[in-house]
Protein backbone atom coordinates (compact mmCIF):
# COMPACT_ATOMS: atom_id res chain seq x y z
CA UNK A 1 0.00 0.00 0.00
CA UNK A 2 1.44 3.33 -1.05
CA UNK A 3 0.37 6.44 0.84
CA UNK A 4 2.07 8.63 -1.70
CA UNK A 5 0.55 7.35 -4.93
CA UNK A 6 -1.54 10.46 -5.39
CA UNK A 7 1.44 12.70 -4.76
CA UNK A 8 3.57 10.68 -7.15
CA UNK A 9 0.91 11.08 -9.81
CA UNK A 10 0.92 14.83 -9.23
CA UNK A 11 4.67 14.93 -9.51
CA UNK A 12 4.62 13.02 -12.78
CA UNK A 13 2.35 15.64 -14.21
CA UNK A 14 5.17 18.12 -13.80
CA UNK A 15 6.99 18.18 -17.10
CA UNK A 16 10.68 19.06 -17.19
CA UNK A 17 11.29 21.88 -19.61
CA UNK A 18 12.36 20.71 -23.03
CA UNK A 19 16.05 20.46 -23.65
CA UNK A 20 17.60 22.95 -26.03
CA UNK A 21 17.48 21.59 -29.55
CA UNK A 22 21.15 22.34 -30.16
CA UNK A 23 22.21 20.05 -27.31
CA UNK A 24 21.67 16.97 -29.47
CA UNK A 25 23.70 18.58 -32.24
CA UNK A 26 26.49 19.40 -29.80
CA UNK A 27 26.57 15.83 -28.53
CA UNK A 28 26.58 14.52 -32.07
CA UNK A 29 29.53 16.75 -32.82
CA UNK A 30 31.28 15.58 -29.67
CA UNK A 31 30.78 11.96 -30.67
CA UNK A 32 32.04 12.69 -34.16
CA UNK A 33 35.17 14.34 -32.78
CA UNK A 34 35.70 11.37 -30.49
CA UNK A 35 35.40 9.05 -33.48
CA UNK A 36 37.82 11.21 -35.45
CA UNK A 37 40.38 10.80 -32.69
CA UNK A 38 39.96 7.05 -32.80
CA UNK A 39 38.14 6.94 -29.48
CA UNK A 40 35.57 4.25 -28.94
CA UNK A 41 32.00 5.42 -29.26
CA UNK A 42 29.98 2.35 -28.30
CA UNK A 43 29.40 1.60 -31.94
CA UNK A 44 27.41 4.75 -32.48
CA UNK A 45 29.92 5.96 -34.99
CA UNK A 46 32.37 3.92 -37.01
CA UNK A 47 35.66 3.50 -35.24
CA UNK A 48 38.83 4.48 -37.04
CA UNK A 49 41.59 2.48 -35.53
CA UNK A 50 43.89 2.39 -38.56
CA UNK A 51 47.55 3.23 -37.99
CA UNK A 52 48.46 6.60 -39.44
CA UNK A 53 52.16 7.46 -39.32
CA UNK A 54 53.10 11.08 -38.90
CA UNK A 55 55.25 11.49 -41.97
CA UNK A 56 56.52 14.95 -41.08
CA UNK A 57 57.73 13.88 -37.64
CA UNK A 58 59.19 10.73 -39.10
CA UNK A 59 61.05 12.67 -41.80
CA UNK A 60 62.41 15.21 -39.33
CA UNK A 61 63.54 12.43 -37.04
CA UNK A 62 65.39 10.63 -39.82
CA UNK A 63 67.01 13.87 -40.99
CA UNK A 64 68.17 14.64 -37.46
CA UNK A 65 69.56 11.14 -37.03
CA UNK A 66 71.41 11.32 -40.37
CA UNK A 67 72.91 14.70 -39.48
CA UNK A 68 74.01 13.43 -36.11
CA UNK A 69 75.70 10.38 -37.60
CA UNK A 70 77.39 12.51 -40.25
CA UNK A 71 78.76 14.99 -37.72
CA UNK A 72 79.84 12.22 -35.38
CA UNK A 73 81.87 10.64 -38.14
CA UNK A 74 83.33 13.95 -39.24
CA UNK A 75 84.51 14.71 -35.71
CA UNK A 76 86.34 11.42 -35.60
CA UNK A 77 88.16 12.28 -38.81
CA UNK A 78 88.92 15.83 -37.73
CA UNK A 79 92.59 16.70 -38.25
CA UNK A 80 94.42 17.33 -35.03
CA UNK A 81 96.98 19.80 -36.33
CA UNK A 82 96.16 23.39 -35.56
CA UNK A 83 98.09 26.45 -36.38
CA UNK A 84 99.44 28.29 -33.39
CA UNK A 85 99.55 31.66 -35.08
CA UNK A 86 97.82 34.64 -33.56
CA UNK A 87 97.01 36.53 -36.69
CA UNK A 88 94.33 35.86 -39.21
CA UNK A 89 95.21 32.55 -40.68
CA UNK A 90 93.71 31.09 -43.72
CA UNK A 91 95.72 28.06 -44.58
CA UNK A 92 95.75 26.57 -47.94
CA UNK A 93 92.99 24.09 -48.38
CA UNK A 94 93.92 20.64 -47.42
CA UNK A 95 94.33 18.52 -50.44
CA UNK A 96 91.38 16.23 -50.82
CA UNK A 97 92.05 12.64 -50.19
CA UNK A 98 92.70 10.81 -53.34
CA UNK A 99 90.26 8.14 -52.44
CA UNK A 100 87.09 8.77 -54.31
CA UNK A 101 84.05 7.27 -52.87
CA UNK A 102 80.65 8.47 -51.88
CA UNK A 103 81.60 10.16 -48.61
CA UNK A 104 82.61 13.55 -47.29
CA UNK A 105 86.30 14.35 -47.02
CA UNK A 106 87.88 17.34 -45.26
CA UNK A 107 88.79 20.07 -47.71
CA UNK A 108 89.70 23.18 -45.69
CA UNK A 109 90.14 24.62 -42.23
CA UNK A 110 89.82 28.33 -41.54
CA UNK A 111 90.85 29.94 -38.27
CA UNK A 112 89.94 33.55 -37.53
CA UNK A 113 91.57 34.95 -34.37
CA UNK A 114 89.47 37.75 -32.95
CA UNK A 115 90.97 38.23 -29.50
CA UNK A 116 94.38 37.75 -27.93
CA UNK A 117 95.25 38.31 -24.31
CA UNK A 118 98.67 38.28 -22.67
CA UNK A 119 98.20 36.64 -19.30
CA UNK A 120 101.72 37.38 -18.10
CA UNK A 121 104.58 35.21 -16.94
CA UNK A 122 103.95 31.88 -15.37
CA UNK A 123 106.18 29.29 -13.89
CA UNK A 124 105.23 25.86 -14.91
CA UNK A 125 105.97 22.99 -12.62
CA UNK A 126 109.46 21.61 -13.05
CA UNK A 127 110.54 24.31 -15.52
CA UNK A 128 113.71 26.33 -15.13
CA UNK A 129 112.44 29.52 -16.68
CA UNK A 130 109.11 31.30 -16.85
CA UNK A 131 106.83 31.21 -19.81
CA UNK A 132 104.52 33.84 -21.15
CA UNK A 133 100.97 32.67 -21.49
CA UNK A 134 98.95 33.95 -24.42
CA UNK A 135 95.27 33.13 -24.70
CA UNK A 136 93.66 33.56 -28.08
CA UNK A 137 90.04 33.21 -29.01
CA UNK A 138 89.14 32.28 -32.50
CA UNK A 139 86.54 30.78 -34.70
CA UNK A 140 87.34 27.70 -36.66
CA UNK A 141 85.46 26.65 -39.72
CA UNK A 142 85.90 23.21 -41.18
CA UNK A 143 84.83 22.31 -44.68
CA UNK A 144 84.10 18.97 -46.21
CA UNK A 145 82.99 18.06 -49.64
CA UNK A 146 81.89 15.00 -51.42
CA UNK A 147 83.96 14.50 -54.55
CA UNK A 148 81.43 12.11 -55.92
CA UNK A 149 78.37 14.28 -55.65
CA UNK A 150 79.88 17.75 -55.24
CA UNK A 151 77.98 18.32 -52.00
CA UNK A 152 79.75 20.36 -49.37
CA UNK A 153 79.43 20.75 -45.63
CA UNK A 154 80.81 23.43 -43.31
CA UNK A 155 80.89 23.49 -39.54
CA UNK A 156 81.91 26.59 -37.64
CA UNK A 157 82.57 26.71 -33.94
CA UNK A 158 84.34 28.95 -31.39
CA UNK A 159 87.72 27.80 -30.08
CA UNK A 160 90.22 28.95 -27.52
CA UNK A 161 93.92 28.31 -27.55
CA UNK A 162 96.59 28.89 -24.92
CA UNK A 163 100.15 29.34 -26.10
CA UNK A 164 103.13 29.18 -23.76
CA UNK A 165 106.12 31.12 -25.03
CA UNK A 166 109.50 30.61 -23.36
CA UNK A 167 110.98 33.84 -22.02
CA UNK A 168 114.66 34.24 -22.59
CA UNK A 169 116.71 35.52 -19.70
CA UNK A 170 118.88 37.85 -21.86
Amino acid sequence: MNDFSELEAELKKLRPRPVASELAARIEQGLSEAAGRGIATAGVLPKRRSFRPNWIALGLGLAAAATFLLLARVNVDKPSSKSAGLALITPAPVAPVARVDDSFVPSALTQVVYDTKDEGLHFTQGADQPVRRLRSRKRETMHWNNPQTGASLSVSYPAEEVTLLPVSGQ
Binding site: E10, L11, P16, I27, G30, G43
Partner: protein, 164 residues
Protein backbone atom coordinates in the same frame (compact mmCIF):
# COMPACT_ATOMS: atom_id res chain seq x y z
CA UNK B 1 27.73 -9.23 -26.02
CA UNK B 2 28.78 -6.26 -28.05
CA UNK B 3 26.80 -3.14 -27.53
CA UNK B 4 26.40 -1.87 -31.04
CA UNK B 5 23.67 0.64 -31.69
CA UNK B 6 22.91 2.61 -34.77
CA UNK B 7 23.01 6.34 -35.22
CA UNK B 8 19.24 6.52 -35.00
CA UNK B 9 19.33 4.48 -31.78
CA UNK B 10 21.58 7.10 -30.28
CA UNK B 11 19.14 9.86 -31.13
CA UNK B 12 16.20 7.89 -29.78
CA UNK B 13 18.05 7.14 -26.54
CA UNK B 14 19.07 10.72 -26.13
CA UNK B 15 15.61 12.15 -26.82
CA UNK B 16 14.17 9.83 -24.18
CA UNK B 17 16.83 10.41 -21.56
CA UNK B 18 17.88 14.00 -22.09
CA UNK B 19 15.11 15.79 -20.15
CA UNK B 20 15.68 13.63 -17.07
CA UNK B 21 19.44 13.93 -17.36
CA UNK B 22 19.35 17.69 -17.67
CA UNK B 23 16.94 17.93 -14.77
CA UNK B 24 19.25 15.75 -12.70
CA UNK B 25 22.31 17.80 -13.67
CA UNK B 26 20.34 20.89 -12.78
CA UNK B 27 20.52 19.77 -9.14
CA UNK B 28 24.22 20.67 -9.10
CA UNK B 29 24.29 23.92 -11.02
CA UNK B 30 22.13 26.94 -11.22
CA UNK B 31 21.57 27.43 -14.92
CA UNK B 32 20.13 25.18 -17.57
CA UNK B 33 23.05 26.04 -19.82
CA UNK B 34 25.51 24.64 -17.31
CA UNK B 35 23.32 21.56 -16.83
CA UNK B 36 23.27 20.96 -20.58
CA UNK B 37 27.05 21.32 -20.74
CA UNK B 38 27.34 18.66 -18.05
CA UNK B 39 24.98 16.32 -19.87
CA UNK B 40 26.83 16.82 -23.13
CA UNK B 41 30.17 15.99 -21.54
CA UNK B 42 28.73 13.04 -19.63
CA UNK B 43 26.86 11.58 -22.56
CA UNK B 44 29.87 11.71 -24.85
CA UNK B 45 32.06 10.26 -22.12
CA UNK B 46 29.53 7.49 -21.50
CA UNK B 47 29.37 6.48 -25.16
CA UNK B 48 33.12 6.62 -25.56
CA UNK B 49 33.50 4.11 -22.74
CA UNK B 50 31.19 1.75 -24.65
CA UNK B 51 28.82 1.30 -21.75
CA UNK B 52 25.46 -0.24 -22.38
CA UNK B 53 22.63 2.24 -22.64
CA UNK B 54 20.66 -0.15 -20.46
CA UNK B 55 22.92 0.81 -17.57
CA UNK B 56 21.05 3.96 -16.65
CA UNK B 57 22.47 4.01 -13.15
CA UNK B 58 25.95 4.35 -14.61
CA UNK B 59 24.77 7.04 -17.01
CA UNK B 60 23.41 9.10 -14.14
CA UNK B 61 26.56 8.40 -12.13
CA UNK B 62 28.55 9.79 -15.06
CA UNK B 63 26.44 12.93 -15.09
CA UNK B 64 26.95 13.29 -11.38
CA UNK B 65 30.68 12.71 -11.69
CA UNK B 66 31.03 15.30 -14.44
CA UNK B 67 29.00 17.77 -12.41
CA UNK B 68 31.15 17.25 -9.33
CA UNK B 69 34.33 17.46 -11.41
CA UNK B 70 33.10 20.73 -12.80
CA UNK B 71 32.49 22.06 -9.33
CA UNK B 72 35.86 20.87 -8.05
CA UNK B 73 37.80 22.20 -11.02
CA UNK B 74 36.96 25.78 -10.40
CA UNK B 75 36.83 26.70 -6.74
CA UNK B 76 35.50 30.11 -7.45
CA UNK B 77 32.80 28.59 -9.56
CA UNK B 78 32.06 26.03 -6.86
CA UNK B 79 31.62 28.78 -4.33
CA UNK B 80 29.37 30.63 -6.68
CA UNK B 81 27.33 27.50 -7.35
CA UNK B 82 27.09 26.70 -3.66
CA UNK B 83 25.75 30.16 -2.99
CA UNK B 84 23.46 29.83 -5.97
CA UNK B 85 22.33 26.42 -4.78
CA UNK B 86 21.43 27.75 -1.38
CA UNK B 87 19.65 30.60 -3.02
CA UNK B 88 17.91 28.27 -5.44
CA UNK B 89 16.52 26.10 -2.67
CA UNK B 90 14.65 29.08 -1.37
CA UNK B 91 13.73 31.18 -4.36
CA UNK B 92 14.59 29.67 -7.73
CA UNK B 93 11.91 27.80 -9.57
CA UNK B 94 12.76 24.39 -10.92
CA UNK B 95 12.92 23.66 -14.59
CA UNK B 96 9.32 22.61 -15.14
CA UNK B 97 6.47 23.69 -17.32
CA UNK B 98 3.37 24.41 -15.29
CA UNK B 99 -0.24 23.91 -16.24
CA UNK B 100 -1.68 25.63 -13.20
CA UNK B 101 -0.87 27.24 -9.90
CA UNK B 102 -1.08 23.95 -8.05
CA UNK B 103 1.78 22.57 -10.05
CA UNK B 104 3.80 25.68 -9.37
CA UNK B 105 3.21 25.20 -5.65
CA UNK B 106 4.32 21.61 -5.94
CA UNK B 107 7.49 22.68 -7.72
CA UNK B 108 8.21 25.20 -5.01
CA UNK B 109 7.76 22.50 -2.38
CA UNK B 110 10.11 20.30 -4.37
CA UNK B 111 12.75 23.00 -4.23
CA UNK B 112 12.55 23.05 -0.48
CA UNK B 113 13.75 19.46 -0.24
CA UNK B 114 17.36 18.68 0.73
CA UNK B 115 19.52 17.99 -2.29
CA UNK B 116 20.14 14.33 -1.42
CA UNK B 117 16.40 13.67 -1.30
CA UNK B 118 15.64 15.75 -4.35
CA UNK B 119 18.16 13.96 -6.58
CA UNK B 120 16.63 10.60 -5.62
CA UNK B 121 13.18 11.96 -6.35
CA UNK B 122 14.25 13.36 -9.71
CA UNK B 123 15.72 10.05 -10.81
CA UNK B 124 12.73 8.08 -9.57
CA UNK B 125 9.88 10.24 -10.82
CA UNK B 126 11.12 11.72 -14.07
CA UNK B 127 13.57 9.07 -15.19
CA UNK B 128 11.82 6.07 -13.63
CA UNK B 129 15.02 4.53 -12.38
CA UNK B 130 14.78 1.63 -9.97
CA UNK B 131 16.15 2.03 -6.46
CA UNK B 132 18.98 -0.29 -7.43
CA UNK B 133 19.89 2.01 -10.32
CA UNK B 134 19.60 5.08 -8.13
CA UNK B 135 21.79 3.43 -5.53
CA UNK B 136 24.38 2.67 -8.20
CA UNK B 137 24.30 6.24 -9.47
CA UNK B 138 24.70 7.77 -6.03
CA UNK B 139 26.94 5.05 -4.62
CA UNK B 140 24.50 4.27 -1.84
CA UNK B 141 22.52 1.15 -1.06
CA UNK B 142 19.14 0.73 -2.65
CA UNK B 143 17.61 0.69 0.82
CA UNK B 144 19.11 4.10 1.48
CA UNK B 145 17.81 5.30 -1.88
CA UNK B 146 14.33 4.03 -1.07
CA UNK B 147 14.51 5.60 2.36
CA UNK B 148 15.49 8.97 0.94
CA UNK B 149 12.66 8.71 -1.54
CA UNK B 150 10.11 8.09 1.18
CA UNK B 151 11.48 10.95 3.27
CA UNK B 152 11.28 13.18 0.23
CA UNK B 153 7.67 12.29 -0.45
CA UNK B 154 6.74 12.70 3.19
CA UNK B 155 8.37 16.13 3.34
CA UNK B 156 6.85 17.09 0.04
CA UNK B 157 3.41 16.01 1.10
CA UNK B 158 3.74 17.93 4.30
CA UNK B 159 4.97 21.10 2.58
CA UNK B 160 2.61 20.80 -0.36
CA UNK B 161 -0.39 20.35 1.87
CA UNK B 162 0.77 23.25 3.95
CA UNK B 163 0.87 25.41 0.84
CA UNK B 164 -2.58 24.29 -0.34
Amino acid sequence: MENVVTHEDWKVCFSELAPGLVLFARQFVRTSADAEDIVQDAFVRFWRKEHSIENRGLLYATVRSVALDLLRRDIRRARREAVASLDMEQTTEPQFDFDDGSQRELAVALDLLPVEQREVLVMKIWSELTFAEIGAALEISQNTAASRYRYALASLKKNFVAHE
